[in-house]
């Protein structure tokens, strides 16, 4: 029975933040969703302090074996998330992980404290792929900056804190080490790779309303495996691995690379029950290869 920081999980497959809306899925699929909920824990979309409408459309671009998205983190904002969504999400048959993001340590601190205070929440995932207002680079791209932010944020909640690293950096292992030293209980990766979608009219202007976007799906799996291996070799805390996972065999590759758990994002768009299928395939695969999924 795998677990995450003491939280018992039915299997090692989570959803990637922002790739599954359990409330909307309930509307589309009814109670069948709850009967065979595909993930062993539910990770919320990134929640910010203030509500965000998200980016103007188009928000999607299909690429070879992948996609570029520029969704822009639409969400109700902390207050309405806590008031409206948490009670609904609490009815899910699995533990809840809330993903948060802020552009300053103060903002993030408030989010972590408010979310951590709620019993419905088992763990907090911090998305550090947020552009620093001065440099424009992701907060999580620089180990020192990341450590500084975490130093202020970590004390604001006793709940397990998972830092979702940014892959858009020269040395993701150094960032993971910095997160561990600053008190992160786990790290998750990879988030999407910075990417651009050209307009099909050939004009060269951006297709996506948000300008640039992030690449996900099988196209990035080999990059994700390299980063997960580098990180798992650099830290003692558990690693949640993701990036292009489509099958149990792929999930096994991430576990072999040193991940304790895996998450599935884009494949869920192609196969809504992918999480459950991958967990089944992984169990069969692990049994066959005589090795137990950690």
């Amino acid at each position: 029975m795998p677990d995450l920081l003491g939280i018992e999980l039915a299997h090692p497959v989570l959803n990637g933040s922002g790739t599954f809306d359990a409330i909307a899925a309930r509307r589309a699929f009814g109670d069948a969703l709850l009967e065979d909920f595909p993930f062993s824990a539910f990770v919320s979309k990134t929640i910010t302090l203030a509500p965000r409408p998200g980016n103007p459309p188009p928000r999607l671009w299909e690429t070879p074996a992948g996609m570029v998205n520029s969704i822009g983190l639409p969400n109700k904002g902390l207050e309405r998330y806590l008031a409206e969504d948490l009670p609904e999400l609490a009815r899910l048959p699995v533990p809840l992980i809330t993903n948060v993001m802020g552009s300053t340590a103060a903002e993030i601190g408030m989010l972590v404290e408010a979310v951590g205070a709620r019993d419905e929440v088992s763990a907090i995932e911090l998305n550090v792929s947020c552009p620093n207002v001065e440099t424009g680079l992701d907060i999580g791209a620089d180990p020192r900056e990341l450590a500084a932010v975490l130093a202020q944020v970590r004390p604001r909640s006793a709940k397990p804190l998972i830092v979702k690293l940014t892959p858009n950096t020269a040395d993701v292992a150094a960032c993971a080490r910095a997160a561990q030293e600053a008190g992160a209980d786990a790290v998750s990766l990879i988030n999407t790779l910075r990417a651009f979608a050209p307009h099909p009219d050939g004009s060269g202007r951006a297709w996506l309303g948000g300008g640039t976007g992030g690449l996900s799906g099988p196209a990035i799996r080999a990059v994700a495996l390299a980063q997960v291996r580098a990180v798992a070799a650099a830290v003692e805390i558990p690693v949640v691995g993701m990036g292009g996972i489509q099958t149990g065999a792929h999930a096994a590759q991430f576990l072999e690379a040193g991940a304790a758990l895996v998450a599935v994002g884009t494949e869920t768009f192609r196969d809504p029950a992918a999480g459950a299928r991958i967990a089944r395939e992984l169990a069969a695969f692990s049994a066959k290869s005589g090795e137990v999924a950690r």
Partner: protein
């Protein structure tokens, strides 16, 4: 509206026929509930979904249900506009088809004694066919106005019962836009609810035209989709009141009043 079984199902293609510029694909869906008019399915070929133009398709594609029979046969109307529709239009009887659905909120009945008026452009005729079936089956009149590019596309009109047709080149029916037909109809009698589906410019014209006459209109919208069930937040349209709606879960059918304008894509 029916909710979809959770997850994608492996269907078998049971038939494929060409209808001018379009392909009608038939598939057996014994396990699925019967869809409501205006709902859609996310479809992908079970084999070799990929390796087409630009190494695509990768994601499934959304298709309105054209017709559904009580014995679980589904029909879809396809126009080949890129790698996904090209691959699906190449499927033959016996081929496997991944399907998730029925999804989304379809058409609502006309209110306060208004008559239904169906208005479609091109492949937008698809959801109007099942809507017309449904209305006629309940003894309600369901006149249809359809616009097409040319004669080859106008063959799609055969999917509905005695529609009035307009073509851009006048090769069939009246020369001009389907919105000309609609305007005339509404000028004669505005006590109607308009059900419209078609390319964005046409839908926007229909919306504006109905708004000007205070005629309720239900727009079956399209947009690029990754998931079809609210997971990706990719399929949004801007709302008049501000903010966005995901057309896969809040639509694809939206009341015209919700939009300031039908977006170009």
């Amino acid at each position: 509206m029916s909710t979809a079984p959770f997850g994608r199902r492996a269907l078998r293609v049971t038939g494929r026929r060409e209808l001018g510029a379009y392909v009608v694909l038939q598939a057996a869906d014994p396990a699925g509930p019967s869809p409501a008019p205006g709902q859609f399915y996310m479809l992908a070929a079970a084999e070799r979904w990929g390796g087409g133009g630009d190494e695509r398709p990768f994601l499934p594609r959304a298709f309105s249900v054209l017709r559904a029979s009580s014995d679980g046969m589904l029909e879809f109307m396809l126009e080949d506009v890129g790698p996904g529709t090209e691959r699906l239009a190449a499927l033959a009887a016996g081929d496997g088809l991944w399907a998730t659905g029925p999804l989304g909120r379809g058409f609502r009945d006309p209110q306060d004694g208004r008559r239904a008026l169906l208005c479609g452009g091109g492949v937008g005729a698809a959801p109007l066919a099942i809507l017309q079936d449904d209305l006629l089956a309940r003894g309600l009149p369901a006149p249809a106005l359809l616009g097409f590019r040319d004669a080859a596309h106008a063959e799609g009109a055969a999917l509905l019962q005695n529609p009035r047709v307009a073509t851009d080149d006048g090769s069939i029916g009246r020369q001009g836009l389907v919105t000309d037909l609609l305007a005339a109809e509404l000028d004669a009698d505005a006590h109607a609810t308009v059900y419209a589906c078609g390319p964005p410019p046409m839908l926007e014209a229909v919306r504006a035209l109905c708004a000007a006459r205070d005629v309720p209109v239900q727009l079956a919208l399209e947009s690029g989709m990754a998931c079809g069930f609210g997971a990706c937040f990719g399929c949004v349209v801007p709302l008049a009141e501000g903010g966005y709606a995901r057309i896969c879960v809040d639509g694809p059918v939206l009341d015209g009043t919700l939009l300031a304008q039908v977006p170009a894509h």
